[in-house]
Amino acid sequence: MKFLFLLALTWGLEVLPSQGLHPAVRLLDAAGVAVHVTGEPLSPERTCGTCHDVVFIKAHNNHKRLVLGWADARNAVLTRSGELELDCLLCHLQAPDVFSRADTIEAGQLGWAATATLAHTGLVERSLVGWAWKGNRFSPSGEVPAEILGLGPPRDGHCGACHGRTVHAKEEVRPHFDRPGDTLSAASGAVFSGQQLRHGGYNLVGRETLTRPWDVHAERQVGCVACHLSPNNPARRLTKRTGEDANHLLFDPRGLTPGQYLLRPSHEFSLENPRSLRRCQDCHDPMLRHSWLPYKALHFSKLACETCHIPKSYHPARSEVDRTVLTNHFGSPRVELRGVQWDLRRSAVSPVEGFEPILIERADPDGQHRLHPNNLVTTWHWEGSQPAGEPSLDDLRKVYFDGQDFRRQVLDLFDRQGDGTLRVEELTLDTDQRRDWVQGELEGLGNRGLQLVGTVEARHVSHGVIGGSWALRSCLECHTENGRPGRAMRLTHVSSPLGRLELTNGLREKGEIVISEGEAWFEPRRLSPAMLGNGAWAWLDRYGVGLLGFALAAVAMHGGLRWTGHRRRRKGL
């Protein structure tokens, strides 16, 4: 459960005075009766649904299943009893108890999950059946004052509870190196914090020189919701018109009133929805600056802003997720991280050097193909020929575990160090013997046609933005023979399982896998030969040099002959 604990740690409990407008709330159960009367679990849908259109919200929501899905989603607690409701409190409560909620779900008490979120408010306490309401905190009519709940818009910490590290500038960024479900830090190596890199708890190499913040937007108080906005929020309306009919208008002021919005707020924060995401150009005009850059417009048509403004990610990010092994009986895969030099104990003080994202072409909404920074993650898994395809988590558990302990055969097979315990580094199918044994065991459980495959996918790096002298400015970063645009990124580790690597759809035309000295690398496709200085014209240069050399030789010979002829004539004749 340590990752849950760590998860909770990242939730900085900011005890701030509640300044919201939210009225007092009657907490209701699924039948619509006040909970302090019935003692039943809280139903957010009934409670919040008193004023907010829950049907609309559920229909326009891409946070559907707020399950902490570090385990294989298909085998998650959905199979257990009870139903997990949409938990509004997770994002809108001032200090949600993420830990207690996860705990409660893990224990199978799905119905109590939302109630558990309230643990920090003092309205509930744990009981034998789940949770019990403390009646003295409620008014006679069953209302809870708004200040206790502190309901309001999500803060960075709410998003960070799941998506990655968002650290309040005054907290210390304490290291933890991986968390499932993390789409920000573990996926792309970014931390959304205004704190200077050197002030955090990571043992960053060259720390004292890193006087820059993790992310300049976080530093400047631009929070998550400033750019990841609800598509119909009138207060944060994108001023750009998208797909409206009246072409004579720059802006249509007839929008939703705040009240209308609060009744039916869209929760669609999907990146594909153009109205839910602000992009760089929605606030910044790059042509107003960058006067030092020759051929500005050309650069901006070929490079995404992030390419130069996220030159390096300083948080270790996943390079491999190995789902062919289980590191504990909950089902955690083995994870390799990029950008950290693990010491022997894989400890929190291991030196962190960060990594440079790889530049891969991507089609932007305006139709241009630009280079964007990415992290590449290889996910190792078994592919099977059954309808289910991949073997289930339960099957894998049966292969590796006997209850909560590793099976005897697993210990014998994997314990290289011979110390009777299995460390994460030891759990890998890096020899034929280990792989074949596991495959045999899985086949014994009914899985057929198994192949060990590593799927390589690109995760876009969008945070960790920096400006000023920290952004890329030297032409030679790109305009040289091994400049950033063509630079390869390492995919596998020495201890990677023996499997077949394959690129996901998005990467197939963008480059190829190259094996060099036993390691696999992804090499992006050779760039336009028109880019200055990237060595694409070496072949033509060879002809040119040849021609020049030939001319030089001819000149030397011709001149030489003339000279000797002249001398001979002067002497001889």
């Binding site: 701030l16 500038a169 200077q196 006087t211 913040p213 530093e219 108080q221 006067s291």
Partner: protein, 482 residues
């Protein structure tokens, strides 16, 4: 038409085109190097060979100095280091001229000099100001050594009215004279208020040999005081708002840091509302704690003493280290309490309240150390009182408030009714020293995050200007500065 008249302008044209193009290529605005504006330091003249006889006392040394430096003595005598007062126009009374200075001002530390001369005047740049009859026209009484001694042996006696400690080798001191170093200025200015680091917050003995992190000018670049507090004819630039009322001849960062400072537009735009120190001085008293409150009313008790908590002579104090400033608008003038002014019931008595508001175009937000004190005042006349603390019959010997206040009032020309109490006063100390390197400056969240350092409402903003708009852009609500 001769060929030359055709060719020459053609060639000239190309040359101009070429040179012009080349020059226009450089698009980076030149940032002036602050080092270019440093004053030139004086060349040292070694005085070792000039003196061979020991000196009996301070004035004897001065007499010798005057043999060559007579003019300089008179220069000093025209400055406030000597006179301890200056005539200034009081901005809060429409420019009425007042003579104000350490000589006759009241503060909320040791309160007042008059009647306490030998102790207070131990920091006078002269010898022998033991009472109100000191001859300010006697050039032989100027103390040259306190500023010019470079040996480090020179020290003034603690209650010696400016005379040096007995037993000091004045000959060695005289031989060592040169341009002042930080130790010279600091011998008095670091221990204002009766001890090291008590008064200013940003001036204490840590600046004798500061690390670059403590003070980037004095630590990293080894600045001496007069590099910024430039002197001309012994008149030093700079104003102390403990006694001054206005900012003529103030030292400013812009004296050396000229033009545009920050590459970043957002940072540069803060200069319309903030003075440099506000961001660049996150905390003072980083090595030695400074006094932030002084309760005189608790003095006279026989409880255990602690230099940083309680002294029988002085009362209760609170010291603080790593002190965060308080931020207020300041336009370079203060409203100063002057002796004899009545204080109104229930009003906060501020000895030197900084003037300025958000709408005052001359005002910027400055960082201040605020010192709170409870000091004696006359219940009937409602004026602050200056107690006689030092010397015979002083409070520090008699522990008799009534007696000390009566004696002090006589000396200061105040009426004393016999009935006194203690009133809370505040004093504002603008902070400018102990500037750390630029990467230690405040970051956005320090003021604009929650909780932030700035009290927006107290500063006159409706809320955080990041959301509400700043003083020049309060115009998100449609208002502009006059």
């Amino acid at each position: 038409m001769s060929r030359l008249t055709v060719i020459a302008p053609l060639i000239l044209g190309w040359v101009i085109l070429g040179v012009g193009t080349f020059l226009s290529l450089s698009s980076e605005p030149e940032v002036a190097d602050p080092h270019d504006y440093l004053p030139r330091r004086a060349v040292h003249y070694d005085h070792t060979a000039l003196f061979d006889q020991p000196f009996p006392d301070g004035p004897a040394v001065t007499k010798t100095c005057l043999q060559c430096h007579d003019r300089q003595a008179h220069e000093v005598m025209r400055t406030s280091h000597w006179t301890w007062e200056k005539e200034m126009a009081d901005p809060s009374s429409g420019g009425t001229l007042v003579r104000l200075g350490k000589k006759n001002a009241v503060n909320n530390f040791c309160i007042g000099v008059q009647s306490n001369w030998p102790r207070c005047t131990s920091c006078h740049a002269g010898y022998g100001w033991a009472d109100e009859h000191f001859d300010f026209n006697d050039a032989t009484k100027v103390d040259c050594l306190v500023c010019h001694d470079r040996s480090g042996v020179y020290a003034k006696a603690q209650a010696g009215a400016g005379h040096p400690e007995p037993g000091i080798d004045l000959l060695a001191s005289a031989r060592s004279v040169g341009s002042p170093g930080r130790a010279n200025c600091g011998s008095c200015h670091f221990s204002g208020g009766g001890g090291n680091a008590v008064k200013h917050g940003d001036l204490d003995s840590a600046l004798l040999n500061p690390t670059p992190e403590l003070d980037v000018h004095m630590g990293k670049h080894n600045f001496v005081c007069q590099d910024c507090h430039r002197s001309k004819e012994h008149r030093l630039r700079g104003r102390s708002f403990a006694v001054s009322l206005t900012c003529e001849d103030c030292v400013r960062c812009e004296d050396c840091h000229q033009g545009r400072i920050h590459d970043d537009d957002r940072l540069e735009s803060h200069r319309t509302s903030l003075v440099c120190q506000t961001c660049h001085l996150p905390a003072v008293a980083r090595k030695h704690a400074t006094k932030v409150s002084w309760d005189w009313s608790k003095a006279g008790d026989d409880r255990p003493e602690d230099e940083h908590r309680y002294l029988k002579k002085k009362g209760e104090f609170v010291y603080q280290k790593e002190l965060w400033p308080t931020y207020r608008w300041f336009n370079g003038t203060v409203t100063r309490y002057q002796l004899g002014q009545p204080v109104r019931q229930g009003e906060e008595v501020s000895i030197n309240r900084p003037r300025g508001t958000m709408t005052d175009p001359e005002a910027l937000i400055w960082p201040f150390k605020i010192h709170m004190a409870k000091q004696p005042f006359d219940l009937v006349h409602r004026t602050l009182l200056v107690p006689k603390t030092a010397g015979e019959d002083g409070y520090w010997q008699t522990f008799d408030w009534d007696r000390s206040l009566r004696l002090g009032a006589e000396s200061n020309g105040l009426a004393y009714s016999g009935s006194y109490d203690f009133i809370e006063t505040s004093m504002y100390w603008p902070l400018s020293h102990m500037i750390p390197p630029a990467e230690e400056a405040l970051s956005c969240h320090d003021c604009h995050g929650e909780p932030g350092r700035m009290d927006w409402l107290a500063l006159g903003y409706p809320g955080d200007p990041l959301q509400w708009g700043g003083r020049r852009t309060e115009l998100r609500m449609g208002r502009t500065l006059p």
